[in-house]
């Protein structure tokens, strides 16, 4: 430690840039989560569908998303598609890779949540005279949402952490911005320490918010 002096003032001067980077990080993860959820619903339906084509499309998507590294998919989106002349910006590449993976993981979560609701809940709701739409609206979906809520927050945190791979395609999110700042000033340790703290704070805030929302929204427990 004796031969290293910390120079924090460089980092404080660059704090606005780091914050901009952090904003991009949150931005890309929120967006990839939202789009991921929509696609995941379709994939989950596809995987439960009787139609072979839908089933296979959903299945292939899900398995690729779950069984290849995120970094690989980001490279694929950036340089792989580039070879076909499809040029995605670093932001869009990271975004699409995260969407692809989020959708794959969430589809399985949704399917699991859906199947974990006992069949007897349908019979019970039907026997009260509810039609299909009402059964879903009042009985199945609310229960399902509770079960998938927790896995969904975890997936969101994962997205935030994995967006840090943007550093590898020159995206200007928190990690990329940190990398740029450290290579102009060469204060590696300081910049990455601050970035680590910022990631930690972001994920904690997300989890805290998720907990507060859950406490407000979900009053009954799930058996």
């Amino acid at each position: 430690m004796d031969n290293y002096e910390f120079h924090w003032n460089v980092v404080f001067d660059a704090f606005p840039q780091l914050l901009t980077g952090a904003f991009t990080t949150v931005h890309v993860s929120v967006l990839s989560m939202l789009v991921g959820i929509i696609i995941a619903v379709l994939l989950a339906l596809g995987k439960m569908s009787e139609t072979k084509t839908f089933y296979h499309i959903a299945n292939i998507w899900i398995e690729i998303a779950r069984n290849t590294p995120a970094l690989f998919l980001i490279y694929m989106a950036y340089f792989g598609l580039g070879a076909y002349g499809i040029h995605l910006s670093p932001y869009v590449s990271v975004f699409s890779a995260l969407v692809f993976i989020n959708a794959g993981y969430l589809a399985e979560t949704f399917r699991g949540g859906f199947q974990s609701i006992p069949k007897t809940q349908y019979s019970a709701a039907k026997s009260l005279g509810m039609n299909n739409i009402k059964v879903y609206r009042y009985i199945i979906l609310p229960q399902m949402f509770r079960r998938i809520y927790h896995p969904m927050t975890n997936q969101f945190v994962w997205s935030i952490l994995m967006s840090s791979l943007g550093i590898l395609v020159g995206m200007n999110e928190l990690s990329g911005e940190t990398q740029r700042l450290q290579s102009t000033s060469f204060r590696t340790l300081e910049f990455f320490m601050v970035a680590a703290v910022m990631y930690y704070v972001i994920t904690k805030l997300v989890l805290l918010a998720a907990d507060l929302i859950a406490k407000k929204v979900f009053k009954g427990e799930i058996s």
């Binding site: 690729i64 069984n67 590294p69 490279y75 340089f79 792989g80 994995m162 340790l189």
Partner: protein, 216 residues
Amino acid sequence: MNLFTPLSWNDTGFILTGILNTVYISVIAIVVGSLLGLLIGFIRAESNKTVNVCLGAVLDILRSVPLIIQLILFSTFIGVMGFPLPPFFAGSIILSLYTMAFMSEVFRSGFNSVPTTMIKAARSLGMNYLQTVRYIRIPIGMRAVFPSWIGVALSVIKDSALVSVIGYMELLRTAEQLISRTQQPLMILIGVGLFYFMISYPLSRYGKYIERKMEI
């Protein structure tokens, strides 16, 4: 001077090294991470709230900071402290700790899944504390969480790609170098993807199969 040369048979050895390096570091991280995770998971299952909160907070940092940042920070930091390590070791250490953070949760829930009545039954046969741990809690608890263990192990294999940022020549970094030389990203990337898929897919299927078998 020839900057750009196509892929040739010469490169197979190079790619193979990348594959082996990926396998090495993944295996090390999974083994070391599981052993440490088992220990910590056990301590957490057995301890009171204070110990748990403290341990949990430390593990939480490992789970809340991106792996890539942890790797860069750690390898820089140990150098500054005066203990430089080659990328392989620095990468193994961080990846193992990272794995441990997730494995400890897996194992903790494994230990907690063993019903207290079963432990009481074992005690009533005259087994002492360590014997119940050794013969009852570890085997039953570990079985229960085997599918989750596979899940974590697979994510470690995939995350090992990130060790490339501190200069470890694993598969993806090898591929990158070849891409720079050949300017042919598509074929090479597809090959890399296929490799990961071929390792990960059968294992994840196996995990699901076990899970389903256990449900019955």
